[in-house]
């Protein structure tokens, strides 16, 4: 199948020249469709100095459906569900906005950028979005605290 060929090439590209703050590996050498991604919190964000484990799952229909992005590391963020799934689904990750010509590296850069600049209007955690908009200091304090406590993933 073409999707396998394409995922393999994208993985090779990411391993060869990893973008800033992003490290990728296969969760299981035998399965190209299941990636583990380590995201370093961007400098200008309360997530700085934290390392977040993100699971990237490619559907069988890839690249005609977007990969699923889930934070395995607990994170205090308006666009990531605060549950065991930690799902993030907005912008280019939504099936109707997804383009088969999008690169995985763009997906990962988008996810990392979202840590620095949340999108409170597209929030999945309404309470955190409210706080982000109305009480930025308190939001950053909690986010920093969670980062210290949980974001210690070792790549």
């Amino acid at each position: 199948m073409g999707s396998q060929k394409r995922i393999a090439k994208e993985l090779a590209e990411l391993v060869e020249s990893p973008p800033e703050g992003i490290k990728v590996e296969l969760a299981n050498e035998a399965d190209l469709y299941d990636w583990r991604v380590y995201l370093n919190g961007p400098e200008n964000s309360p997530f700085h100095n934290g390392t977040f484990l993100v699971k990237l799952k490619f559907p069988n229909e890839y690249p005609f459906k977007p990969p699923a992005v889930n934070f395995a590391t607990k994170i205090y963020h308006p666009n990531v569900t605060n549950d065991e799934k930690g799902s993030m689904c907005l912008g280019m990750l939504r099936p109707d906005e997804w383009k088969p010509s999008s690169r995985v590296v763009a997906v990962l850069q988008f996810a990392r950028q979202l840590l620095a600049e949340p999108m409170p209007d597209d929030a999945v955690e309404g309470r955190i979005a409210e706080q982000y908009k109305n009480d930025r200091a308190r939001y950053e304090e909690v986010a920093r605290d969670w980062t210290r406590r949980y974001a210690n993933e070792k790549a």
Partner: protein
């Protein structure tokens, strides 16, 4: 697809009356697929999204809607959001159907607006077969792509197919020019190339059945990959020719391509369709024609040619109903396989055996619906010249040639005899055997009485269809008629000159 937000809409001749006021866009598709749940969520949540499907129920439209969301708890809102995010219409049917009778489309509109009913029943005559595309947001793209490959296969020209393969592959340079990387698009090109390989193989193997092509287009992966390839080429073509397209799209061209062309399921609009034809299809030499079914005046669908090539080698014909595209086919030119040419058939040039699916004559519904038109000598003189087909002269011993049983139309229901000619609402065709060669041709106004042993009336299947009885085809006059022009082709022919002195003899 939202035509209303395309500012130039009224400039294009095919854009008038593009919405049925009392039919939802998808009502047509709805009735085809017999799925009453199909658009039930859409009218509530849709706020003019770019697509009928998931795009119309996205987060933002729900948030901006005028509902009082405050009365809903956060949990409820999240639940609704999840439902709307995951909503996928349950569209039934294959991605590309097999060829079917266009009557099915006419049936869908039988009880609809009279204009639509008239137009679709006319359509069933002019374009007796069609292919239904699944209404999943890709119908327009799929119709064009399938029509392209199908025509290539039908032409069975290996050189043309090889040239087209080279041409389509060379279009990858457009993709490179707009910054796509080959490792991202190569699998789409591979899928397209595979279809070309299949075509070549099938033709080399002497395969005539195109079901392999239908199968390929019904495999989700191949279908998606081919359409993505065509979408990417179209987007690249548009970006490289901004002067042609920018004025017609309501946003910067890059954004338009990213949100309307390069996505997976956004429907094609006029601009996208034109770009697809311009950039990908037209150089093949194929013409692309759209037949618009709407409630504009007239009793036939409105055709519009999207290509500029005058002498096209083939034409891809699309049926457009607002929000949906299908493929249409003209009657197939059938080869008359009958070894013995019936005298009457020979007289009427190239009529093939009656077959509901293959009417090889030009059915002009307007003319056919005029009673007695063909009886009018003036019209007959204007008719195309008789074919000088080998005509076996009637045996002089018998005034009437007796048709062999298989030449006589057999009624579908054996128990009921064919309806007597008097039941026909329009005058019956004078399809009788030739009169005795020696006798003078009977004037049209005094046809021989029909008795039980009289000349045979050849009934065609259309007679049995109550809806079509008004369009009973009528043959041109018989051989010895003064209206027969065949003798003009005889080089020894000399018209009779009337001399004033003759009358005194």
């Amino acid at each position: 697809m939202s035509l209303s937000d395309v500012p130039f809409a009224h400039f294009l001749p095919y854009n008038h009356n593009h919405y049925f006021p009392d039919y939802h866009d998808l009502s047509a598709a709805n009735s085809i697929y017999q799925d009453p749940t199909f658009h039930s969520p859409a009218p509530v949540l849709s706020h003019g999204g770019s697509s009928h499907f998931s795009a119309s129920v996205k987060n933002r439209s729900a948030a901006k809607s005028s509902f009082n969301m405050n009365t809903l708890s956060t949990e409820e809102m999240e639940r609704f959001q999840k439902l709307s995010n995951e909503f996928e219409p349950d569209v039934q049917g294959p991605l590309v159907s097999t060829k079917q009778s266009t009557q099915a489309i006419a049936m869908d509109y039988a009880n609809a607006d009279p204009t639509l009913a008239t137009k679709t029943s006319t359509l069933a005559l002019t374009h007796p077969t069609s292919r239904i595309m699944k209404g999943d947001g890709n119908c327009g793209w799929r119709a064009v792509a399938f029509g392209y490959f199908e025509n290539l296969f039908a032409l069975r020209d290996l050189v043309l197919i090889q040239n087209e393969l080279v041409r389509i592959k060379s279009l990858s340079s457009l993709l490179d020019q707009v910054g796509h990387q080959d490792y991202l698009y190569e699998i789409f090109v591979d899928a397209t190339e595979q279809v070309f390989t299949q075509l070549i193989q099938a033709i080399q193997d002497g395969v005539r059945d195109d079901s392999f092509l239908v199968d390929t287009f019904n495999v989700e992966y191949s279908s998606n990959a081919i359409l993505t390839h065509f979408r990417l080429l179209t987007g690249a073509w548009m970006k490289l020719n901004p002067q042609r397209y920018q004025a017609f799209v309501p946003m910067p061209l890059n954004q338009y391509c990213a949100t309307r062309i390069e996505t997976v399921k956004s429907e094609i609009d006029e601009v996208g369709l034109q770009a697809l034809i311009d950039g990908v299809i037209e150089r093949s030499g194929f013409a692309v024609e759209i037949l618009y079914l709407d409630r504009s005046r007239g009793d036939a669908v409105t055709p519009h040619l999207l290509t500029t090539n005058q002498a096209s080698i083939e034409t891809i014909r699309l049926l457009y109903r607002p929000g949906h595209y299908d493929l249409l086919y003209r009657p197939e030119p059938t080869v008359n396989m009958e070894p013995v040419v019936n005298y009457q058939y020979a007289m009427t040039s190239n009529y093939s055996p009656w077959d509901q699916g293959a009417l090889s004559f030009d059915v002009n519904p307007t003319l056919m619906s005029i009673p007695n038109l063909m009886m009018d000598p003036a019209f007959a003189m204007g008719a195309p010249p008789m074919s000088p087909a080998p005509i076996s002269p009637p045996a002089p011993s018998s005034p009437y040639r007796v048709s062999s049983p298989q030449e006589v139309y057999q009624a579908q229901i054996p128990t009921s005899p064919p309806p007597p000619p008097v039941q026909m609402p329009s005058p019956p065709a004078p399809r009788m055997s030739a009169p005795p060669p020696s006798g003078p041709p009977p004037p049209m106004s005094s046809l021989p009485n029909r008795s039980s042993d009289g000349p045979q009336i050849r009934l065609n299947p259309l007679v049995m269809k109550p809806n079509l009885s008004h369009s009973l085809p009528i043959t041109t006059p018989f051989k010895n008629s003064p209206y027969n022009q065949a003798h003009f082709q005889n080089q020894d022919f000399e018209p009779i000159h009337w001399e004033p002195s003759d009358s005194r003899k």
